[in-house]
């Protein structure tokens, strides 16, 4: 078995988004609430939260949790 097309695509996408310095999942968790609230009202993301945006691009699990949080905030 080899990697499927979606898996190959995912690999290229995460490698492309990789940065020399990244935050980990625990740091993301502590700040993702602020990111979600700003995002929901369409406010620009400040420089200090850009690392959250990048982490959500490369981490499937944090992104999945963020989507659920957004859904919760929308209601």
């Amino acid at each position: 078995m080899s990697l499927s097309r979606p898996e190959l695509q995912k690999m290229l996408d995460v490698v492309r988004a990789t940065q020399p310095v990244e935050i980990d999942c625990d740091v993301c968790l502590m700040q993702v609430g602020e990111f979600a609230e700003l995002n929901l009202v369409g406010k620009p993301i400040p420089e200090g939260l850009k690392a959250i945006e990048q982490h959500l691009t490369v981490c499937d699990e944090c992104r999945e949790e963020y989507e659920l949080l957004r859904g919760f905030l929308r209601k």
């Binding site: 078995m1 080899s2 990697l3 499927s4 097309r5 898996e7 190959l8 695509q9 995912k10 690999m11 290229l12 995460v14 490698v15 492309r16 990789t18 020399p20 990244e22 980990d24 999942c25 625990d26 968790l29 502590m30 700040q31 993702v32 609430g33 602020e34 979600a36 609230e37 490369v58 981490c59 499937d60 699990e61 999945e64 949790e65 659920l68 949080l69 859904g71 919760f72 905030l73 209601k75």
Partner: protein, 199 residues
């Protein structure tokens, strides 16, 4: 009825003793029950009977993390993010606990030639370079983490089977992605060039 509290009132109440703390804990428990149920109800792997444990475990983690709340979002948003992390971590663990990391990664292999995964002509050289770099430039641990993550295996379960932690795993994954990116650049592929859609 849930008492309205601002962030400072939440923190003060949860750090207090006696009835003030009990009332805040009861309100938070109620809000998390509703929030988690709403967030998780459409998932096929969620059943209501898990909810109480999720909320209880979330409360423990929230109380343990109170000093990390930076007052930059609503307290309830921050607490709900933690509860979602706790719940999804458990659901992922249940889904992946019987899957062998060794088998998953061994089955992946490094050959890009299988007919069902053969990419189009434009992406073929990049894919071949990527397989080559994964096979030669990454350590075994880096390769294992990267491939298991791409396959969607839960990070907690990868960490458990490797005798590591989720954050240590993230560092390994980051190192692997960096090496792969550097390898692709060395092979002449810029990030712009592999911003492609594999058809």
């Amino acid at each position: 009825m849930v008492q309205e509290r601002d962030n400072n009132e939440w923190i003060a109440a949860l750090q207090a003793d006696g009835p003030l703390r009990e009332a805040a804990l009861s309100d938070l428990r109620g809000m998390l029950l509703i929030g988690l149920k709403t967030a998780l109800k459409s998932r096929s792997d969620f059943v209501d009977s898990l909810l109480d444990d999720f909320v209880q475990d979330s409360l423990v983690r929230i109380l343990r993390s109170l000093d990390q709340f930076q007052n930059r979002s609503r307290f309830v948003t921050w607490a709900t993010a933690i509860a979602i992390r706790v719940a999804l971590t458990e659901l992922r663990k249940r889904r992946w606990r019987d899957v062998s990391l060794e088998t998953l990664v061994a089955d992946t292999g490094f050959e890009p030639s299988a007919a069902e995964t053969s990419p189009d002509r434009e992406s073929q050289p990049i894919i071949e370079a990527m397989y080559r770099i994964i096979g030669s430039d990454l350590t075994e641990k880096q390769r294992t983490v990267l491939l298991a993550e791409i396959k969607g295996m839960a990070q907690e379960e990868i960490a458990r089977q490797m005798g590591s932690s989720r954050n240590a795993l993230y560092k390994l994954s980051h190192d692997a992605r960096q090496r792969l990116k550097q390898g692709l650049e060395k092979a002449g592929f810029t990030a712009q060039e592999y911003a492609i859609t594999i058809s």
